[in-house]
Amino acid sequence: MSFLIDSGIMVTSQVLFFGFGWLFFMRKLFKDYEVRQYVVQVVFSVTFAFSCTMFELIIFEILGVLNSSSRYFHWKLNLCVILLVLVFMVPFYIGYFIVSNIRLLHRQRLLFACVVWLTFMYFFWKLGDPFPILSPKHGILSIEQLISRVGVIGVTLMALLSGFGAVNCPYTYMSYFLRNVTDADILALERRLLQTIDMIISKKKRMAMAHRTMFQRGEVHNKPTGFWGIIKSVTTSAPGSENLSLIQQEVDALEELSRQLFLETADLHATKERIEYSKTFQGKYFNFLGYFFSIYCVWKIFMATINIVFDRVGKTDPVTRGIEITVNYLGIQFDVKFWSQHISFILVGIIIVTSIRGLLITLTKFFYAISSSKSSNVIVLLLAQIMGMYFVSSVLLIRMSMPPEYRTIITEVLGELQFNFYHRWFDVIFLVSFSTFTPFTSTKMSSSSSPAASAGPPFSICKHRL
């Protein structure tokens, strides 16, 4: 009986998550595009719903809500569904929509979609070879096979995003890095931009006139090449004799310059807005937080380096360690079990919420940047895939942050994975991405024309940690 009630609760929450994913899709992602294929929206919302359910189950685990056997059942069920979606459905639809875009293959869409999917499966399977993630006693079709590979991809993504966030965070937050921009600067730059465009216009006028004169004389070719062209250019003094290709080159250079100037001007406007924002209360608050986050990022990097260098993986989670420290060193006695449950709930809850929020915001920005009306379906599906893998590996890694008594269910459900490997892998990729992004950002900082990161909600990428 209690199983039914539990299932009812689970299903309701899943429907809620599905609705949230649907709304997010409509309002945020696709707000400039028409949704013509509802399949895409459904697939996205389903992925989102099942990912969130996993997090919900973790929270239930900590809080002790619901029956433990029904929790276990739902874990398994959820996991199976999400793996099915991530490995079968989404890649297949990605292939299908890519193929639909190519006009040649339009007729046999299904066939080619299957071909694409098979290729994906092949590479997906091959992914498992170089990594020591499986013990040989697992069967071919076991869940562990799929999860381990999904985990690898997801952990790589997470580490990349975290590394990027660690670099970007201090730069975006702290007003220390803001250059001083005055209105006069902006006006001067705008004037230059308009002047450049005026120059482009005058050159194009000359070209247009030249084309027209040549056209009226019966010459259809653009360039005065060829025997007669040269003869005519020698004997006439009309604009058609000008070296059009030379003007075209000048125009190209000027257009490139105008693009640069435009970007610089936009950057100056953005910086000016950030300066004004930093003077408000909200701005000061975020600035303050920025310092904390920078320190935190530095600590993370330090820890990652130590982990790699000394070849160790932390055995205890922060909650237990914190409690140990307070009990042992500070002599404060309190009910360990009670507090550890609540603190880990809060900690894990914060991690989950900020991960989800951060990921969604990043995905939205990414989507705006690269999508067009043709490729929007494919890109959204790719994002759904990334999101699913990200969340699955979040579950993998979150195990580390929980006290041992709550870890058991994850270990049970996910099977015998080499969790240590994933943590090690995360640290490696984190360091790699951090060291790759640092030179980029430092050149961005030092050069005077830095294309600004969009002034979006500051917390977006920083919270990608686990």
Partner: protein
């Protein structure tokens, strides 16, 4: 974005199809030579500058502030939308307001919230033209429905409308109704700019038209 403004501008100015359309950053300009009152004794040749302003209507406010510099003294506006994407036509209202209002506050976005307000268009002196692109991608069955919708749209703006496919020059072939509409639009723009005509025969008067946004706006500027 991605409605085909650059292809359209290229078609209008070079009478050729744009071979490799790519993302427009900032503003790209092109020039068209237009015969005002073609075929009549008062025929005169003018340059028309077409400013193609890229970006989307939901861009960051810093980009909007930068775009605002292009909207000064505009002589005409061409609003371009994608026939296969309803949202792009809905965005046209916001685009036109952005261009017409012209007083984009540096940290704000638009003066109004983008809703359509007939009053604003009633006393608008700047000639408007609405162009729908990617006509070839609409299947025959849906064409009527789409064309009715765009007719309403053009009526809202008190503007003419043209629907075409930028990869096919025959839509603007000489003598076709589209070409006539286009010609009339450019004539109106030139008239608005020059209330009295000078007797200048040599093409030398620049009229700027701006194309903006995910929808094209062509703003005339002198």
């Amino acid at each position: 974005h991605g409605v085909g403004k650059s292809s359209l501008v290229h078609l209008l100015c070079q009478n050729q199809v744009l071979g490799n359309p790519s993302w427009t950053v900032g503003c790209s300009v092109d020039v068209r030579i237009h015969d005002y009152k073609e075929g009549t004794p008062e025929e005169k040749t003018y340059y028309i500058e077409l400013w193609d302003v890229g970006g989307s209507v939901g861009s960051a406010s810093s980009v909007k502030s930068t775009r605002a510099v292009f909207y000064n003294s505009v002589n005409g506006i061409i609003l371009v939308h994608d026939l296969t994407n309803k949202k792009s036509s809905q965005n046209l209202y916001r685009w036109s307001l952005e261009a017409l209002n012209r007083d984009v506050a540096p940290t704000g976005v638009l003066v109004t919230n983008g809703d359509y307000d007939r009053e604003q268009f009633a006393d608008n002196q700047i000639p408007l033209l609405v162009i729908g692109t990617k006509l070839d991608q609409i299947p025959e069955t849906k064409r009527n429905e789409v064309l009715t919708r765009t007719a309403f749209l053009a009526e809202d703006f008190n503007a003419e409308e043209i629907n075409l496919d930028c990869t096919n020059p025959r839509y603007l072939a000489a003598g076709s109704s589209n070409a006539v509409k286009l010609s009339r639009f450019f004539d109106k723009v030139i008239e608005k700019r020059y209330l009295s005509r000078d007797g200048n025969q040599i093409p030398g008067f620049p009229d700027r038209k701006r194309f903006g946004g995910g929808t094209l706006k062509s703003l005339h500027y002198d």
